[in-house]
């Protein structure tokens, strides 16, 4: 397992994706499929139906927060691989609804790189998602202990 190295302040760039009804349906159906071990289709909820979402107090349908969490996790998997899967940590907080039509940008920045007694490096990383105007919709942080190479 190779050991990626980063300086404090290094930027991580994740996916840039539009929030579409299809993507929302993909996640919610996949979540149900993974829970039952068979192909399932999501029904009506605040993520899939704008009218239902309005009745529950939202402006329109919005993405399940786990879609953004998964895209943050995708960025960390791509950068840190097995180090992240074995000794990683991810926290995401959905601070505003991520509505249909938003162009979501997944970002990260290395906040700290601390050498551990065992020779590993513990990276602390700010992680967030913002819309096309730079408004933060998801805030969070991650930690990844990278084993010495």
């Amino acid at each position: 397992m190779s050991a990626p190295t980063f300086e404090v302040g290094a930027e991580l760039v994740g996916p840039v994706r539009a929030i579409t009804p299809t993507r929302i349906e993909w996640y919610d159906s996949a979540m149900l499929s993974a829970a039952t071990d068979e192909l399932r289709q999501v029904g009506v909820n605040i993520h899939t139906d704008p009218e239902f979402a309005k009745a529950e107090g939202f402006v329109t349908a919005n993405a399940d927060g786990m879609i953004m969490t998964n895209w943050c996790s995708e960025m960390l998997t791509r950068v840190f691989g097995l180090h992240y899967l074995s000794r990683g940590e991810l926290r995401t907080k959905y601070i505003k609804p991520t509505n249909l039509g938003v162009e979501l940008h997944v970002r990260g920045r290395v906040k700290e790189a601390a050498k551990q007694q065992n020779g590993n490096t513990l990276y602390s990383i700010d992680v967030w998602c913002e819309d096309e105007h730079g408004t933060k919709l998801v805030d969070g942080d991650a930690k990844v202990e990278v084993a010495r190479g």
């Binding site: 996640y27 926290r91 995401t92 907080k93």
Partner: protein, 151 residues
């Protein structure tokens, strides 16, 4: 209170555990649903040499344990509660990867339940271990039980 709606859960409630064997379909389909193309989650042709459970699948484990413990609101089966719930915070720590073919056991309890700015929140704590006791994931989750504030 267990066995009711999710909104009936109270601080200190301890969930009946759930267990299952991780299948290739579960991992691949979950990854596919969020456009995650890393080979870790789709086959054994990766640095681990085995197909890995996506760490974010802890969200599925939450749905599984709620399904087994909240008889009136089995969301996976299509049941609905009195109000739409909103996930507010996800916090997972990975202690080791879990692999296809492994049996895992999910345990958990309600850490707290409180009202903030007129809205009710529920704080879950879950753990995932393999059947032989290896710790896979510890997870804290904050869920808003009702988004709409009554005027």
């Amino acid at each position: 209170m267990l066995r009711g709606y999710i909104s009936d859960l109270e601080k200190g409630d301890v969930f009946k555990p759930v267990e299952y064997v991780i299948t290739p379909f579960m991992c691949s389909e979950y990854a596919h649903g969020s456009e995650e193309t890393s080979e870790f989650f789709h086959s054994e042709r990766n640095a681990a040499g085995r197909q890995v459970r996506p760490p974010t699948m802890i969200h599925v484990d939450k749905m599984r344990i709620l399904e087994a413990n909240c008889d009136k609101e089995q969301r996976v089966s299509g049941m609905k509660g009195p109000d739409a719930r909103v996930h507010y915070e996800y916090h997972a720590k990975h202690h080791s990867p879990a692999y296809v073919g492994e049996r895992v056991i999910v345990t958990g309890h309600i850490v707290d339940k409180y009202v903030k700015r007129g809205r009710p929140y529920l704080w879950y704590y879950l753990e995932v271990r393999t059947a032989d006791g290896r710790l896979v994931t510890t997870y804290n989750d904050l869920t808003l039980l009702k988004y709409k504030v009554e005027s």
